[in-house]
């Protein structure tokens, strides 16, 4: 078994761990650090449920090895709220009923967090395109688009 020592910052906290070289980043987050808010929907990079922010960019944690994030900075869904207070994007999801079963939601929140930073005043078409890599089986996406639009408006205010 090949192992690697890694140092990584996640949601502002520094972690030093030894990981099996073949362990995916998603499994590392979920199993080694018990950050189970990052979900696995397909493990082949299509569904987007496992999306996290890696140095500010939305990436799929099922397609990365933990060993690849040595020295990097990660944000997961657990890093969005301040204590119990939802951030504006989370609040918009709640207000606009942008989630049902909630399984795909962490991935969508992370995708949109990164997207809205780059594109603070998006059109609906741009939002749809931004989330086209995140599958949701419950909502039909309409309310997710509405939530993203509302969150962007709040942030611009």
């Amino acid at each position: 078994m090949i192992e690697r020592a890694i140092r990584v910052t996640i949601n502002g906290l520094a972690y030093e761990r030894t990981v099996e070289a073949r362990k995916t980043l998603a499994d590392f987050l979920r199993d080694d650090l018990e950050l189970t808010g990052t979900h696995l929907g397909c493990e082949h990079g299509v569904c987007g449920a496992c999306t996290i922010a890696l140095d500010g960019a939305a990436v799929r944690s099922c397609l990365l090895f933990a060993a690849q994030v040595h020295g990097r900075e990660i944000q997961t869904v657990e890093g969005l709220a301040e204590g119990d207070r939802l951030n504006p994007l989370q609040e918009a999801f709640r207000e606009h009923h942008g989630l049902q079963c909630g399984f795909c939601t962490p991935g969508l929140l992370m995708t949109l967090t990164c997207f809205l930073r780059e594109c603070p005043d998006p059109s609906d078409a741009q939002i749809r395109e931004a989330i086209a890599g995140n599958l949701c089986r419950c909502t039909g996406y309409r309310n997710i688009v509405a939530a993203a639009r509302a969150a962007a408006a709040t942030a611009r205010r």
């Binding site: 569904c47 449920a49 009923h97 049902q100 909630g102 795909c104 086209a132 039909g140």
Partner: protein, 782 residues
Amino acid sequence: MAGAVGRSVRRKEDHRLLTGRGKYAADFRLPGTLHAAVLRSPHAHARWGAIRTKAALALPGVVGVVTAEDLGAIGRIPVRLGQRPSATAIACLQPPLAREKVRYVGEPMAVVLAESRYLAEDALDLLEVDYDPLPPVADARRAVERGSPVLHEAIDGNIVDTLHTHRGDARAALATARHRVSESFAVQRHTGVPLETRGLTAAYDSGSGVLRLWGVAKVPHFNRRVLADLLGHPEHLIHFIELEVGGGFGVRGEFYPEDLVVPWAARRFGRPVQWIEDRREHLMATNHSRQQYHDIEIGFDADGRIVALLDRFMVDMGAYIRTHGVTVPELTAALLPGPYRIPNYSSEIRCVLTNKTPSGTYRGPGRFECTFVRERLMDIAAQKLGLDPLELRRRNFVAPSEMPYEVGSGSLNQKTVYDCGDYRSALDQALEAVGYEAARAEQAEARRGGRYIGIGVGCLVEKAGLGPWEYARVEVDGTGHVVVYSGIAAVGQGIETTLAQVTADELNVSPEAITVVHGDSAQVPFGVGGFASRGAAVALPAAMEAARKVRAKIVRVAATLLEAAAEDLVLEGGAVHVRGLPDKRVSFRELARAAVPGPPGMEPGLYAAHFFEAPKMTYPYGTHVAVVEVDPDTGCVRLLKYAIAYDIGRAVNPMIVDGQLVGALAQGIGGALFEELVYDAQGQPLTTTFMDYLIPTAMEMPAATEVRILEETPTPLNPLGVKGVGEGGSSGCGGAIANAVADALAPLGVSITALPLSPDRLLTLIRAQTATRPRVGLLDRS
């Protein structure tokens, strides 16, 4: 305080789900857990000898391999739903692990247990099996032919059941009908595909003898009993706990082979065992659905009124009969007549076994299929009769004055009796919502410009509120908190919120202040579960009635404490006061403590249970209208606009109702345009990843979606008047979208009789027409 019922109360579930704190099946952790991986058949049909496990067991970290031999005499998984299974159906039930023969790719043969999932999967590769492949049959139409390979030697051939429905004499009526229209239709194999795959953790406490399972869903109480029977373990020593459920759609929560093997292994090895399905497994192990072939004929009189409908169809059941038995075929026939008055109706069904994944229900089971068949047939008939398709529908709708209306069919051990409805109004509202006249004008304009825009309608009758009952208990705990315990199960539909709303109104507290408990067999002793759009129509009335009983107890205890007449008492904000004397009050907390033992003659404690019985289903209904544009060069269908008008009697939470309809619409669009579980002739599944099995993304949704929630006909079958909204957003999609595509391509004369209308299929149809005809319209494109 304004009532909570009828308001778009924000969901109680959301905070934990938005912060990543919800615990789904794969998020559950116990120390010392063994991880399971399942050896699945790579062959569609084969005999096989022993599994050689030596190399796998020699791998460090591998603890055991479970095969059918280890399970001993454990029986097959029984049918849960519908009519009593036939002897042939029972002969085709699935064993938890295969013995001697495998009948579909993905069939579980053995389970490896190891210290991690990585190691368990390594060990799978080291298991050796000698297979003796048999000729497979992957197509139901071939499986019924003489000389076709037979899956189950215990029955004669591959037809596991034949079902018949007769009202009047359809054949005789067709013989004398003025107009007869016949057609063949096919619906493809596809299924629910929740974003969370299945998963389960089991742990056995050898001291107390309690076997605990986490990650159960849909029908925990029923499945607990099945597990108790199969294991020969006392039911009261089995504890089921639901956790969060990442989508159900009918497929999750049925009793599958893994649901037996995982707890069996936990008991056998004395350590917790966790199994999490991966996506590839899911697409070949979890129930498939929907595959049917219809040969249908309809007859009309001179005025365009239906005189008879005769449908002979075949349902591809897959390799075994699973927990739904023949419910899906039965439901297809039960609801095929839809909103139309059909005096003579016959259906003849063959339920056929094939070497493919077994099938079960998927959101709107039977209704997605029959609505596509019927609504497409109505459009084809309208064209043949020279009538406007809307006019043909209007002439045949069952009228509100005919309610309750007996269809002459049946399902789930009851007759199909529509409780109430105004089908014409739903059609009119959907047309208004989509802007029908404007859309027709736009279509005409587009056609002149060589563009192919089409408009299609799908009218449907759904079913909801399946009983036989649901359980609820409401209590005020010793700190004054109101708790609702419900036998319903969550599938992501927001049931906690609506249960809280209904209870809140009875006790005049805020829904936010109410705790909802469900999916825990230790806390909720009885339950039926979450399926068949039954939450609002069956579980909510149970909670409402239980809350009323508690309210009576609250008033009784308060009357004693406050020395006031019951009719002078007011419940408000978690306390009771005397009308006009707000200081003369007593809190729920004080009342709960005083209620034990409470006033003489009262059953102690501020709690009450209620079983709400629902012997009859309710039948929500509505209309879908699709406006599409087809690109004749690529076969791509773009949804320009989509409208749904759907009557559910009463909306407890309009936001949630709207969400259900739009979410179901996405799945219906998938079924109409993209999703297909494809097999090759050898029975190999070709769609085992999300790169092959295409579910709609945000890009494929309609550019504009209009939802009209109708509350025109509250059902008389429950005190809330609510029907159920889980499925109607899907059921109309196949019909409406296929009719719209056919309408768009009418200038080319393309015949649309099969789903999905994926670009490749549509392009083949378009090319077949344009190759033999002058390129009308196409040449006009510049």
